[in-house]
């Protein structure tokens, strides 16, 4: 008697491959969409976009915190390494600079307690970029050519918002130049 219905093995193989490919591709697509949305907001000076304090009306990223000031740089290392500068809070609140690749992985984070200074310079390059043209305090190596850098700064009831705003203007991302 001839069997009818779908062959089991090809179906299961397809099911597994389809699911695996989708799960592999989705983070990159979601990240690309978020980067497009950030790009469309326009840029501030020195590559950084300093987002206003998150409210229900202006939120663009899921699960953003209204207790944190966010600034962001999109990066593309195709033209070479990038220099990132950050100024840390004088009031002792948490702040960090975190680096995300195009697949959403957080491949490096540097916070205010990792350093002994009120500001830090960081070079961002690809692993095979052997020549970093400028000296910096810290280095980060991106697994992908594009991605984004996020500056977070906690604000609370006692935070001087004007001072916090001035401090985060010290977060910049600029193309390095050969010296």
């Amino acid at each position: 008697m001839k069997r009818s219905g779908l062959p089991f093995l090809p179906y299961m193989l397809g099911l597994l491959i389809g699911a695996a490919v989708t799960l592999h591709v989705l983070p990159g697509r979601i990240m690309a969409r978020a980067m497009d949305r950030i790009e469309s907001l326009g840029g501030d000076n020195d590559g950084a976009r300093h987002a206003p304090r998150v409210t229900a009306e202006n939120q663009t990223i899921v699960r953003a915190s209204p207790d944190i000031l966010y600034s962001v740089c999109l990066f593309d290392l195709a033209d070479g390494p990038i220099r990132v500068e950050a100024t840390w809070p004088a009031d002792g609140n948490y702040a960090s600079v975190s680096f995300y690749d195009a697949n959403t992985n957080n491949f490096r984070a540097i916070n205010d307690r990792d350093v002994d200074a009120l500001s830090t310079s960081i070079s961002l390059a690809r692993p095979f970029d052997s020549d970093i043209p400028e000296r910096t305090d810290e280095s980060a190596w991106s697994p992908t050519t594009t991605g984004l850098i996020l500056y977070r700064r906690v604000i609370d009831a006692s935070t001087d918002l004007a001072a916090a705003e001035t401090e985060r203007q010290g977060f910049t991302c600029t193309q390095m130049v050969d010296q």
Binding site: L16, A56, R63, D67, Y94, A109
Partner: protein, 190 residues
């Protein structure tokens, strides 16, 4: 291999893609570590996260930090395992695990702050009174000024952020005492 096998493979691939997308975009919580109503995934933000975790985080917690920097716990249900709903009032009571700074924020079903015109989406370690015994009482969905507002939140979730968590938090994600989420009452209760 016959044409029938190829077509079956393609049907299977399409079903797999739909199944994966459904898992990622549905409100179902998958994997992670539970502590009462609070759920976290220690691999959030990390490159060693499995593909499903990475996709789930990209959908619901894009740009999260790794656990050494911050731990994120999310609750979609109260301590009696009932959905958190804007129709009900709650109290978060107990000790917040030790960390440099913490906050609790409400998000609607789409993981955005509820659009309700009320600037009461979050409380943090500097805005909440901590009792002498280290416990907090945080009203949710109540009219009091310090309460987290639930208006327009539907079936909502709460995210507890612990920045620079104490090492005992990372070691005891599922065993440490976490605050309870107690339902006080709901619209229509008699």
């Amino acid at each position: 291999m016959t044409l029938r096998h190829v077509l079956t493979f393609l049907v299977g691939s399409a079903c797999g893609a739909v199944l994966a997308a459904t898992l990622v975009f549905s409100p179902i919580e998958i994997g992670g570590v539970s502590n009462g109503p609070w759920i976290t995934n220690p691999h959030i933000g990390s490159s060693d996260a499995n593909p499903l975790t990475r996709a789930l985080v990209a959908r619901r917690g894009l740009l999260a930090l790794t656990r050494e920097e911050a731990v994120y716990f999310t609750a979609t249900r109260d301590s009696n395992d009932l959905n958190l709903s804007e129709r009900c009032a709650y109290e978060i009571t107990g000790e917040i695990p030790p960390a440099r700074w913490w906050s609790i924020t409400i998000y609607d079903e789409d993981s955005f702050l509820p659009r309700n015109g009320l600037d009461r989406h979050a409380v943090n370690s500097s805005s909440v009174d901590i009792n002498g015994d280290g416990r907090v009482v945080i009203p949710v969905g109540q009219a009091s000024p310090g309460a987290i507002a639930t208006d327009q939140a539907g079936l909502f979730s709460l995210t507890l952020r612990l920045y620079h968590p104490d090492p005992i938090v990372l070691e005891g994600l599922d065993s440490l005492d976490f605050p309870r989420i107690e339902r006080i009452g709901c619209e229509g209760d008699t």
